[in-house]
Each structure stands twice: as structure tokens, then as C-alpha cells.
């Protein structure tokens, strides 16, 4: 039997208290998760959406919210990384602003709430490395994982 692998969770910090959640497109055009009382638990949070929107799921695991008429992407799940790196998705750090896109671990194997560990790129003396951090401390510098980390070392 194959077991499914969770690669992204919308409401990882806004827990539903039961299994009666709904995913839908709200009146303001955003993708939302609602609880059983129809309260918004999570939203894609795009402001001033002018036209009708629809949602698509790509072969590579990207959930997209787009303008129905133009096909313009308004929001996509890969902007908000979870604990999983997918093909063609960039971990990045901006040298000027310090803004980074990183992986953040789950709190436990069964709890997607934001956990202690993060994985991000670091530039040090012009060498780019990938570090895993435990909170604000560098925890581990990858030695070897398959092809990825054999290179990054």
C-alpha cells in the first residue's frame, strides 16, 4: 500500500479543531480554508482582486490562484514554502535585503505547526552553502544526501 506524502499545508499555524474543514474560493476571490462555522481559518490574502478567480494544481505540486480571464497568477503555494523542496523551486537569500525563502520543519511528525528547524542558503566569503538551523543557531551543515548535498558540501 502506498502512503501519501504531505508536501504543503495551508493552515499550518491555524489548526482546525475537527475534520470538518472546507477549501473554497471566497467572495473576495481568495483561496480560503473555512471551519465548520464557516469562519475563515486561512486565506491566500491577496488584496484588491478585480475579477473572477479559479484555482489549479500543477503536476509538480504547486497550488495556484489565477485570474480566470487573463490566466495571471495572483498567488501560488510555492511562495510560502513548507518543509519540502520541490523541483525547480528556489531556496534563496537576498544579499541586499536579507529576505530569504527557506524550509521550515513541522513541530512533530504529526503536527505541521511551525517547528524549530529551518533550512536556508548562506553566503560566506563568496561560497554558497546550505545550512540547517535549530532556532537561531546553525545546527548542521549537510555532509552528503544523495546528489544534492554531495555537491553543496
Amino acid at each position: 500500500m502506498s502512503q501519501s506524502t504531505i508536501i504543503w499545508v495551508a493552515n499550518r499555524n491555524q489548526t482546525l479543531n475537527d475534520s470538518n474543514g472546507t477549501v473554497t474560493i471566497s467572495e473576495d476571490g481568495n483561496l480560503v480554508v473555512l471551519n465548520v462555522q464557516k469562519q475563515v481559518i486561512w486565506t491566500s490574502n491577496v488584496s484588491n482582486i478585480a475579477s473572477n478567480t479559479s484555482s489549479q494544481f500543477s503536476n509538480f505540486g504547486n497550488l495556484v490562484l489565477l485570474e480566470s480571464t487573463t490566466g495571471n497568477i495572483l498567488w501560488q503555494s510555492i511562495q510560502q514554502l513548507s518543509d519540502t523542496l520541490l523541483p525547480s523551486i528556489k531556496l534563496s537569500i537576498n544579499k541586499r535585503t536579507g529576505k530569504n525563502v527557506k524550509l521550515i520543519s513541522w513541530k512533530s511528525p504529526s503536527d505541521p505547526y511551525v517547528g524549530n528547524f529551518s533550512c536556508r542558503t548562506v553566503e560566506c566569503l563568496n561560497i554558497i552553502e546550505v545550512f540547517i538551523w535549530n532556532g537561531t543557531h546553525s545546527y548542521w551543515r549537510p555532509g552528503m544526501v544523495g546528489s544534492l548535498l554531495a555537491y553543496i558540501q
Binding site: Q3, K95, S138, L149
Partner: protein, 87 residues
């Protein structure tokens, strides 16, 4: 601009101050993801097309000594010894 390339993994200057790291798939049959576990290990997981399931094919932490700075600045680490840190 990409400054390095290895088995589909690329690291480099993405322009506008961005330093990027990403990978692309080599062919249609291949699918792999990298997953940061709640214990702080980075696992490489590949699709096994025969068994129709995702399978962990590599993990970042092969020994306790892979934890950065575990023994401090003046000791060396050997996971086959007990204790693992020695001067």
C-alpha cells in the same frame, strides 16, 4: 546566472541580489523531493515507480558528528568512540 551545476542541482547568483539554490529533474520518469524533518534532518525522497510510493533515498545526518560544532572548537568528533568527543 548559474555558477555551478551538478546532477541537476544549481547554486548561483539569480540577479537582483538573490542567491538561489534549486534543482531540476533530469527526465520524466524521475521525481524527487527534499524534506526537512521535525528532527532537523534533510531527507531526499524519490518516487519508486515499481512500488508506486515515495522512498527515502538519502538523509543528511549519517552520524551524530554531523551536528555542527557538537564537540566545540578544540575537540574532534568520532561517532565510533564513547564519548564521541575527544581532545
Amino acid at each position: 546566472m548559474t555558477v555551478a551545476y551538478f546532477f541537476g542541482f544549481r547554486v548561483g547568483d539569480g540577479g537582483q541580489g538573490n542567491i538561489d539554490m534549486y534543482y531540476t529533474l533530469q527526465n520524466d520518469e524521475e521525481f524527487l523531493i527534499c524534506h526537512l524533518t521535525s528532527q532537523g534532518n534533510l531527507d531526499e525522497t524519490r518516487w519508486d515507480d515499481e512500488k508506486k510510493e515515495m522512498k527515502v533515498t538519502g538523509t543528511s545526518r549519517e552520524s551524530e558528528c554531523d551536528v555542527y560544532g557538537l564537540c566545540g572548537a578544540f575537540a574532534s568528533c568520532n561517532s565510533l568512540r564513547s564519548p564521541i568527543c575527544s581532545c
